[in-house]
Amino acid sequence: MSNLLNILLESWGPLGAGIGAGLAAVGAGIGVGLIGGKAAEGIARQPEALNAIRGTAIIFAAFVEGVALFAAVIALLAMGS
């Protein structure tokens, strides 16, 4: 069992890294897209709240991006093992 796992980790690592990173990119893309879309909607509805919405949206986008980067780090780890 551990032998199989080792083989999987060693040879399939880069593949797993690629797939994982790609999935993370999809998730982050959807997340940032939703944030951007909602922010644009909000700005359209209340142009006077532009600065507040932009600031908040940047922070939330950074959160989403952070999650994607967690995945990127894990991908790096998977690739290296």
Partner: protein
């Protein structure tokens, strides 16, 4: 993995440099900077407050002025009213006084007239009597020597004269 494994040396230097940075900056940078900023903010708020206070004072002054003006107006009105009343009172008093005086004068005049009339009547009566006597005397002296006849005539005459 090297990437996710903090190396001892860097953690060591990081701790040292961070604490050195924190302590030095706290004492020699953040404290004076934040104090100065706070001082400036305080002075700005103070200035704003004093401006507000001045505005408030101005407003109260204005309202006070208005109150004073209103009071003055009221006073003026009262004074004017009083003056008007006083004037009317004086006029009325004068009128009544004049009337009374006039009445008094009239009454006095009437009394005088009456008195004078009575005096005149009495005098006239006396004069008439005297005149009559003199006339009679003269007539009698001229026409008659007889005194008895004289008296009789006179009495007849007197009876005819009716006094009013």
């Amino acid at each position: 993995m090297e990437l996710l494994n903090p190396s001892f040396g860097l953690v060591f230097w990081m701790l040292i440099s961070f604490f050195v940075l924190l302590l030095i900056l706290r004492k020699y940078a953040w404290k004076p900077i934040l104090n100065s900023v706070k001082k400036r903010e305080d002075s700005i708020t103070e200035a704003l407050n004093s401006a507000k206070e001045a505005e408030k004072k101005l407003a109260t002054l204005k309202s006070e002025n208005e109150a004073i003006m209103a009071e003055t107006k009221k006073q003026r009105d009262i004074i004017l009213k009083e003056a008007r009343e006083a004037k009317e009172k004086i006029i009325n008093e004068a009128k009544t006084a004049a009337q009374e005086e006039a009445n008094r004068l009239t009454i006095a005049a009437r009394e005088n007239i009456n008195n004078e009339k009575m005096k005149a009547v009495t005098e006239l009566r006396n004069q008439v009597a005297l005149l009559s006597v003199e006339i009679a005397e003269k007539i009698l002296k001229e026409k008659m020597g007889d005194s008895a006849k004289q008296t009789e005539v006179m009495e007849n005459i007197l009876k005819e004269v009716t006094l009013n």
